[in-house]
Point group: C2
Chain length 140, copies 2
């Protein structure tokens, strides 16, 4: 399988496959006589693994760990769970942050007429006139 076929089979773009190889996330693929990369089923499995882990929001660094744990048949599941839980905590904290932003902003938007008149509580708030509605104006 050349890189285009591997891309189709794994859902990872050719560009990203080369990148993952370059940063050492996957082992360098075999090469044909004409220097084309050649992928086997195991490579495809790795790429699919990566694809799924990325879709769950794991960083490349985390995936490096997950991949090596995946290949180690004797690893304790504790380690994997640790990585996963850390990532969940990270996700939840980012979610909370964005949720707070969305709530603040949509409250402001609800107060805004949204018509031809220039009065706008959204801009008023951003310019500091009404600090009450912005809970984290000074340090966020």
């Amino acid at each position: 399988m050349n890189i285009g076929q591997a891309s189709n089979a794994s859902g990872v773009t050719a560009k990203m496959i080369r990148y993952y190889e370059q940063i050492g996330l996957v082992r360098p693929a075999d090469r044909t006589d004409s220097n084309y990369r050649s992928f086997n089923d195991r490579d495809i499995n790795d790429l699919r693994f990566i694809k799924r882990a990325r879709s769950l929001g794991f960083s490349v660094k985390e995936i490096t760990n997950l991949l090596s744990l995946w290949r180690d048949r004797t690893r304790p599941s504790r380690e994997v769970k640790g990585i996963a839980d850390g990532h969940v905590a990270d996700l939840r904290s980012r979610i909370a942050e964005m949720q707070a932003m969305a709530d603040t902003l949509s409250a402001l938007s609800d107060c805004c007429a949204g018509d031809d008149r220039p009065d706008c509580p959204i801009l008023s708030n951003l310019s500091g006139d009404t600090p009450a509605i912005a809970p984290d104006q000074s340090q966020a």
Copy 2:
């Protein structure tokens, strides 16, 4: 006020103030004879505005628009509301995405013993053994 004082007064780092000037988000500050940037109260207000808008997750591009609307006393509030609502929608969709990741992952983690044994449903799922629990394995 030189850039350090402006930074303290606005909460925007000196580094970022220079960057915002460079990309045209704020007008170039006045210069002293010795080429130091010199900021007045209005500049500080702009920087504070930017700081707050960033803390609400607006991109620099969005803030460019907000700033020009802010300066235009006759703008219709509709435009501002439009930007804000678009941004809220964007936030909410990213939140939903991350929420789905977190839920999937924490369900997997709940199934993982997290002890010395090697069996790990998290890795099993990532490697494609149990596709049922991953709702968006193919396109996300």
